[in-house]
């Protein structure tokens, strides 16, 4: 596509997005500490439809208050056709404001993505299906291709985790190891990934695939989030389960995250700018895979989410504390 035509498509798309998006009524709950690592989380975005643009605008509006420097993408970056114009319609246009502000996007591959997306420089994948990168002094990200978890990738992951020292370790990939949606927990993946996460002290895991937001009660000390409603939405798909610490499935959503010292704060936000969950997680200490029972970090986890525990389960030792409520959680039941 000619560059002038692409510019035209981008301009039209942004105009349409601005017109359609509702005015933001944002409440920022993140601490905004100096020298913190700040980023956005979006998943299952690449529809090219109006709600994706609205989420993009909301993310950009929050960027004014919470100047994050990068966004991590949970995969399904482009649904359907992946022609040059689709990269514009389904990525460049919805996030134009952020891209213009030099916000970097780090993509993972989903099952709807052509692996050759790894060559598209705005996705910052370094030409690889899976890769790692570091931000700030002590945060390392491990980006995996969960659609094709072959032994080579697992070996690579183990080496990367082993050499990452005492950094915050954040893994993200498309398919959730724990989820209460239609697709459910990906146990095949869990069998091969969870032992490595436990052995090398991964703190937090983000995924998509399920088209809603869900915070999972810590599993063996690891905090899991599903953020797969950046463009797609499966309304009412979040079924009550013992896994659910908080959830939101009545509209599109995204997350903002801030890592400062030994604490990670998160805020989940709807397409209309409303906060649907928030909390803080302390860094987890590395535990040996041979250790039985609860890892050391398990008992000192404290997430103070504001969304109601949809599963209705009571609090358990070491699991997230929910202080507030969100009406959205009850509406879909």
């Amino acid at each position: 596509m000619a560059k002038s035509s692409r510019r035209c498509v981008v301009a039209l798309a942004v105009f349409a997005g601005c017109w359609l998006a509702s005015p933001a009524a944002q409440e920022l709950t993140l601490p905004l500490r100096p020298d913190s690592v700040r980023f956005g989380v979006i998943g299952d975005t690449g529809t090219g439809a109006t709600p994706q643009y609205e989420v993009g605008l909301q993310l950009a509006a929050y960027h004014e208050k919470f100047p994050f420097t990068f966004v991590i993408m949970m995969g399904d970056n482009l649904y359907g056709a992946q022609r040059p114009q689709d990269f514009v319609k389904k990525f460049e246009a919805p996030y134009k404001i952020l891209l213009d502000a030099k916000v970097a996007f780090y993509a993972a591959l989903g099952n709807h993505d052509d692996p050759n997306q790894r060559l598209y420089t705005p996705f910052n994948m370094a030409g690889k299906r899976y890769y790692s990168f570091r931000k700030g002094d002590n945060v390392r990200f491990f980006v995996l291709d969960s659609t094709y978890m072959d032994p080579v990738q697992l070996t690579w992951l183990e080496q990367e985790l082993k050499s990452s020292g005492s950094d915050w370790k954040i893994a993200y990939f498309h398919h959730p190891l724990y989820s209460s949606g239609t697709h459910g927990s990906q146990t095949d993946l869990r069998v091969v990934l969870e032992p490595l996460f436990l052995k090398y002290g991964v703190d937090v895991v983000f995924s998509g695939h399920e088209h809603f937001y869900q915070r999972i009660k810590p599993q063996k000390g690891i905090n899991y989030f599903v953020s797969g409603a950046g463009g797609q939405l499966r309304q009412g798909d979040l079924k009550p389960s013992d896994l659910t610490a908080a959830g939101f499935d009545s509209d599109r959503s995204f997350m903002l995250v801030e890592v400062a010292g030994k604490e990670l704060s998160f805020q989940a936000i709807s397409r209309t700018g409303r906060t649907v969950d928030k909390g803080t997680i302390p860094m987890r200490e590395a535990v040996s895979s041979t250790a039985a029972g609860e890892p050391p970090g398990f008992s000192r986890l404290r997430a103070s989410g504001h969304a109601r525990d949809r599963a209705g389960a009571g609090r358990r030792r070491g699991q997230s504390r929910q202080d507030g409520s969100s009406s959205d959680l009850g509406q879909q039941q």
């Binding site: 099952n111 052509d114 420089t121 659609t147 095949d188 091969v192």
Partner: protein
């Protein structure tokens, strides 16, 4: 009469020993290992052909222009299609290899719970594959179960297995082409 019986017994024993010795003298061939070695050779031959065909194309590099990625993928696919005009199903995933893979996949599938089977087949596309066909972008690339992947023969970089509703395909990642496939895998 007794002597005759004795001699018959001795002759019978000698005959059995001779047959046994002959059987030991023959080289023992594991049919599965042979099929895998042959598969490996065919994969190498495919990659050699791919390299030869693509030497004239501009290199596949990182770019901020998605048109470059798309055009390179299409050009590579076209070159491979031309170079493999006579390619048929079974050229790489031979009948022997198909038997091995079918058994592995069916065993894996049977071991799963009903829920596990559902999850596995959740996003599996339902189209009938053809050799040299571009993988249709309208269909997702079904997630390949990690334990099953570990049980199949490893592939070199640039080739991958994927599952369809009733097929295992061998896919060229850079060219987005179906190189070969096996039917009736579930």
């Amino acid at each position: 009469m007794l002597n005759t019986r004795r001699w018959a017994g001795v002759i019978g024993a000698l005959t059995s020993l001779t047959w046994a010795a002959a059987a030991f003298a023959q080289p023992r061939v594991n049919p599965q290992a042979a099929a895998m070695a042959d598969f490996s050779k065919r994969i190498t031959a495919y990659l050699d052909l791919q390299k030869k065909l693509t030497d004239d194309l501009p290199p596949l590099k990182r770019t901020d222009d998605p048109a470059e990625i798309t055009l390179r993928e299409i050009a590579l696919g076209d070159a491979i299609r031309v170079g493999r005009l006579e390619a048929h199903r079974g050229d790489i995933l031979t009948r022997e290899m198909a038997r091995v893979f079918r058994r592995v996949i069916k065993d894996d599938f049977r071991r799963r719970t009903l829920r596990g089977q559902k999850v596995m087949r959740d996003d599996i596309p339902h189209f009938h594959p053809k050799v040299n066909q571009s993988y249709p972008s309208a269909w997702p690339l079904a997630t390949f179960p990690a334990p099953l992947l570990a049980a199949l023969s490893p592939l070199p970089d640039g080739l991958e297995y994927r599952l369809l509703s009733d097929a295992l395909i061998l896919r060229d990642v850079k060219a987005n082409i179906i190189v070969d496939f096996i039917l009736d895998v579930f």
